[in-house]
Amino acid sequence: MTHAAELPAWAAWCVALLLLLGAGITLIGSLGMLRLDGFYQRAHAPTLGTTLGTAFICGASMLCFSLLASRPLLHEVLILGFVTITTPVTLMLLVRAALFRDTAEGHIDDIVRRAKQTPGDEELR
Amino acid sequence: MTSWTDHLIILPILLPLFIGAAMLLIDERHQQIKAFANLGSIVLMGIIALLLMRAADTPTVTGAAPIAVYRLGDWPAPFAIVLVADRLSALMLALTSLLAFAATVFATAGWQRLGAHFHSLVQFLLMGLNGAFLTGDLFNLFVFFELLLAASYGLVLHGSGPARVRAGLQYIAVNLTASVLFLIGVSLIYAVTGTLNIADLAIRIPQVAAQDRALLEAGAAVLGVAFLVKAGMWPLCFWLPTTYAAAAAPVAAIFAIMSKVGIYILLRLSLLFFGADSGASAMFGANWLIAAGIATILFGLIGALASQEISRLAGYAVLVSSGTVLAVAAAAGQPAVTAAALFYLVNSTLAIAAFFMLIELLERGRDPGADMLAVTREAYGEDMPDDPDAEEVGLVIPASMAILGWCFVGCAAVIAGLPPVSGFIAKFAMLTALLGDDAAAGISPLSWTLLALLMLSGLTMLIAMTRAGIRTLWSPTERADPRVRLAEIVPIALLLLGCVAMTVQPQPALSYMQGAANSLHAPSAYTDSVLAPTPSRIKTGGGS
């Protein structure tokens, strides 16, 4: 990383911080994929990565390249924007599809009931 | 680039691309226009091929073998892609256009309407074939191989139906796997030599360091396996009879050249890369090629005998033809033998192509059950009761059947290597070349083996073809007279006339092939021509 030395110290620290924050939040979100129970709960988890996770890492990237190129290089904003617009589409379609599948197979009453009473049971396959 | 004739080399690739693409803009309903465009393009290609043949056969002032080189993009070789036209590649181009012409004329009688975009697919197939024959770059060869394969996938499936789709699936799966091997082989060779230009490779391969030789040879071997699949070598050939038998007749006829592409490349590359003077890896794989060729001949013969359907028999004839060319050409390592093998290649390809179209006409209007019955009766050696009081009066044979019958005899004779057509001459030329001129020198066991094999293949094909011919032409089952159109019989006759011409005048053909074989066996002419410094846009030349 020869270019790291070209960055001013404060910027390096900032970039490092943003990076770690973004990656950390994304990791937490993804951990949710492991730790949360049932599809509907897990479906909330990746949003962490697509919002703040992406935002911080894009921020780190923009800061880094803007300083390296000594002019604003901000196209990562587009990534953030597109992720923000597209992730909901996926999730909406997916959650609704899951809901339909569960209804069709008669699990939904179960799930709604369990969700309200005793969450955490292993969901039926 | 001084004159327009310099661009002649690339036209066999650009012309079909242009016609094929332009036809996409024409509605499917205008079949006749497309057919004419297709035929016109093929005729033009044929003329170009003949011009290239003539150019390649006209010695230059210095007396050197004239090998035309086309540097694409005006970049110096070996960095960008080059096309190379010598006698052999020009010959293959001519053969291709002849087959394509016959098959396309045949298809105009009805096959063209069986599925969409037949004519475009034919043009793209020709582009791939011509490209594979002309290119002087290993990876570009891959691209053209893929192109011709892709078009062949389309053509195999032309007309759809269970048999074709089933065969097509097998064909595609095998060839996709072979393509994977092709890529692995090419990239290994690049990894060791750092080049893709065939001529450059021929120069660099002898210089490869000892510790890299294992990688180089592994790459070459894997690449060779890929070509062996395309050439239809045992035990990698089982897809071939099935596919060819299932394909529509004109398609199978064009396909007669496809296995020869593999052979062509194997011959060219093995002589360029691993010729006698190529250092530590000289003659690499030659014995394997011979063994594969022999095994293929044997398997093809067995399959021909075992074939119930006549179209499978034709497929096995393709195997025998490929195996013979490869075994004979690889075994001797002498230009004379290679020349004879090329002669054989040309006429067996013509006959097999004609045979595939003929089969369709013969089978038309026949009850497929009759075959089974005839074969089973024969198989179990039942005595066929002769009706003693049947009046001995021959059946009047309609003219169309008579013509088909004679065409059958012609095809059978060429394929079995019997008189009166050129197969006999081809076998004769191969055998005399194999035995050599020196009566005092003994005959090597390999030559004996090949001699025996050639005889055996004649015998076996004779038995198989007689059986098939009797079954289709003489079987007493009721059959409707095949309604044969002129457009169907003319292409068959055309191809067979080619064979007849080679029977009557074999000398010009053989001496051309002798020239082709001579330059094939002299790699330095090839490398010198390709890598010759020429004025180009890069004044400084290469970086290496």
Binding site: L36, Y40, T47, L48, L78, P88, L91, V95, A115, P119 | -
Partner: protein, 162 residues
């Protein structure tokens, strides 16, 4: 105007995107970008007939700020649920919210907001009843969610789009 530039706002966004990607504000990219932006508008017109109308631009900024805060807050909340020990004690479930919003654009923005906010998921919207079905990760009080969606977001969206 409508034929040439059916979606002025979208086309502006497209131009901005082009310039943003090109990292340049010189004349060439602007001309080329404008061309593409126009073409983009025509493409969109093939698919959507109703043009975009925005009534109250200042509400947009207001809404954006609100969403930003909510997103950050929810990130923390959901993160702590995932990491924390109480993730087995949360109650998640579906909430039905009757909406007054009917504008397609408005609904789309609302969907993005809800789904982008960790902890809530847009499940389904039934047009004839106007009921929005949500899934909420940490569902304590249903009515609180109804209030939150309707009060915080729908009101402002109605201002913007209807």
């Amino acid at each position: 105007m409508t034929r040439l530039l059916p979606f002025p706002l979208i086309s502006l966004c497209l131009l901005a995107m082009w310039l943003w990607l090109s990292q340049s504000l010189s004349l060439g990219p602007i001309l080329l970008g404008s061309l593409f932006a126009l073409m983009g508008g025509w493409l969109l017109r093939l698919l959507q007939s109703d043009a975009d109308r925005v009534r109250n631009p200042s509400a947009i900024i207001q809404l954006a700020g609100l969403v930003l805060i909510d997103v950050i807050r929810s990130n923390i909340a959901v993160g702590s649920i995932i990491l924390g020990g109480q993730r087995n004690n949360i109650t998640s479930g579906f909430v039905d919210i009757p909406l007054d919003l009917r504008s397609r654009q408005g609904l789309a923005v609302l969907a993005c907001i809800i789904t982008s906010t960790p902890g809530t998921l847009w499940v389904n919207f039934t047009r004839e009843t106007g009921v929005l079905q949500l899934h909420v990760l940490d569902l304590v009080d249903e009515s609180e969610w109804v209030e939150r969606i309707k009060g915080r977001y729908e009101r402002r969206l109605l201002e913007i789009f209807e």
